[in-house]
């Protein structure tokens, strides 16, 4: 039996572990985000009141879903006296709850609730920034203030984005469901895009500015895992593999002072072997599926780096082939840029340069500092120092993050 002072910690642990799926089930049972959030709050208040005396229920999260549901019905009944419009709602919720619906009995349906919540938060009718904010708040349990800090935005902006997104969901009458097979690929793409956006936001976060910020890369990996548990689609597996393989390099990516270390110069001993192994395992598992997509291909490229014992041992031939496939699957100037850089590493800088020249001449990457930095690197290797300097300066003019600027300044300084 727990001592009295253990209970707050135990309840907090249940909150951390199960908040998401409890909320997800409450949204379904109560039919509204607002009511579900109030119910979640009330459910944990009930746990604080009752668990120390009665002990931990057999299934804490089922107990919490049920407590939240019935407390909400009670509360609405009290409020209905003030507000006739609620009478109908109370009646419907009571009928559902007392009519012995099997909503609570079926474990599969409860598991699906988490998936329903993700699909609703990432619904394509919502603007992408609202999808990310809503997912982080409702599924990951971040506060509005934490989301704002992570995206370097004001809390009122994020708060209103969330309010508007919920209103949009309500007004559009979006069904709270996992999409049917026919609509699934497109809807899943939207979910994966949000997860990847969140990851990139965390991945590119300033190392020195990290104090007090929730690590979005870790939140995205957690989301990716949840998604793979619930819906092991090859691209979901590919995305999780990609995130793990990139995240594994985190400790090697910056010096203790916060300066960037390029892949070729990283201390591979600092790479997280567990994450690399898991990422490579997921790649293999996804490959056994019917088809591979852009996330799998990006993960496979990261996997080639993971496999190379040294930078010199990298299989650039294989990486170029993967970029060829990626370019066919999901063409973009950034993929072309990375492919050109890989060709330069396979065949030498003189082979990559014309590709980069052509790409920059098209103007698609005129604002992309990495394009100029990549060309500057090739020019430097070819001994064309003056041109390299011009491109590094162009990249510097476009770079916003202090760590990027310091990196480019060092490169520029090393030219003389």
């Amino acid at each position: 039996m727990a001592t009295p002072e253990d209970w707050p910690a135990r309840i907090a642990a249940v909150y951390r572990a199960d908040r998401g799926r409890i909320l997800a089930s409450l949204v379904r049972l109560l039919g509204s985000f607002e009511l579900a959030e109030e119910a979640l709050h009330d459910a944990f208040a009930a746990a604080v009141e009752q668990w120390p005396a009665r002990g931990l229920p057999d299934s804490p999260w089922r107990w919490l879903v049920s407590a939240g549901r019935f407390r909400t019905i009670d509360r609405l009944r009290r409020r209905a006296r003030l507000d006739a419009a609620r009478v109908e709602l109370v009646h419907r919720l009571e009928t559902d709850a007392l009519g012995g619906d099997d909503a609570m009995a079926e474990p599969a349906s409860l598991e699906d609730d988490s998936l329903r919540l993700i699909f609703t938060c990432c619904h394509p009718v919502l603007p992408p920034d609202a999808q990310a904010a809503l997912t982080l708040r409702e599924v990951c349990g971040l506060t509005t203030e934490e989301i704002a800090a992570a995206f370097l935005t004001g809390a009122p902006t994020v708060a209103q984005r969330i309010v508007r997104a919920k209103a949009r969901i309500r007004e559009a009458g979006l069904p709270y469901e996992v999409p049917e097979a026919a609509a699934l690929p497109e809807r899943l793409e939207s979910v994966l895009r949000v997860v990847y956006l969140v990851f990139n936001e965390g991945y590119s976060a300033e190392p020195e500015g990290a104090a007090g910020r929730r690590d979005l890369a870790i939140e995205a990996i957690r989301l990716g895992r949840l998604l793979c548990d619930l819906l092991p689609d090859p691209e979901a597996l590919g995305l999780l593999a990609l995130m793990l393989l990139q995240h594994a390099r985190r400790a090697a990516r910056t010096t203790p002072a916060g300066d960037l270390v390029p892949l070729s110069e990283q201390d591979r001993g600092l790479w997280d072997q567990d994450q690399l192994r898991e990422g490579l395992g997921l790649l293999a598992r996804a490959y056994a599926g019917r088809e591979i997509g852009p996330y799998w291909l990006q993960a496979a490229i990261a996997g080639e780096h993971a496999r190379a014992k040294t930078a010199a041992a990298t299989d650039w031939q294989r990486i170029v082939e993967l970029y060829d496939l990626l370019l066919a699957a999901d063409p973009s100037p950034v993929v072309e840029l990375n492919r050109a850089a890989a060709i330069a590493l396979r065949d030498g800088p003189a082979a990559g340069l014309p590709l980069l020249d052509g790409l920059l001449a098209r103007g698609d990457l005129a604002d992309y500092q990495l394009a100029f930095a990549a060309r500057a690197d090739l020019l430097r290797q070819l001994g064309r120092t003056a041109e390299a300097g011009r491109d590094y300066r162009q990249a510097l003019a476009l770079a916003r993050r202090p760590a990027d600027r310091r990196f480019l300044e060092r490169r520029l300084g090393a030219l003389d």
Partner: protein, 118 residues
């Protein structure tokens, strides 16, 4: 996190309510306060007398001066405040939206500022 919900209202509009309407607003507000207390959100809720009862204090160059009424001439004036505990800004906004005074006036939701002593 802690937030102040500052309730602003046009006093002429408030004073123009019939006795029955005024009493209903009071009852609803008190019931809402009680609900927020039951649910662990309420730190303090307080209505204020009308602005003409206020005195504004300033100390400049070590001298206190006082003037009648609130500092600024505005159409909507402070009529009361609630101090609440909420998980985040969105929850605080939702709680504010549930306050009956939001239907007649407006409610400014502001996070507490944590002062740090040197």
């Amino acid at each position: 996190m802690k937030y102040a919900c500052l309730v602003y209202v046009e006093f002429p509009k408030l004073l123009a309510l019939s006795p029955a309407e005024g009493q209903k607003l009071t009852d609803d507000s008190m019931e809402n306060d009680a609900e927020l207390t039951r649910r662990g959100h309420n730190i303090m809720a307080q209505a204020l007398q009308e602005p003409s009862t206020a005195v504004t204090i300033r100390v400049r160059n070590g001298k206190m001066s006082s003037t009648d009424g609130p500092f600024a001439e505005t159409k909507e004036e402070l009529a009361g405040f609630c101090l609440i505990e909420a998980a985040d800004l969105n929850e605080a906004m939702q709680l504010a939206a549930g306050m009956p005074m939001a239907r007649i006036g407006s409610i400014e939701v502001r996070p507490f500022f944590q002062l740090v002593h040197s």
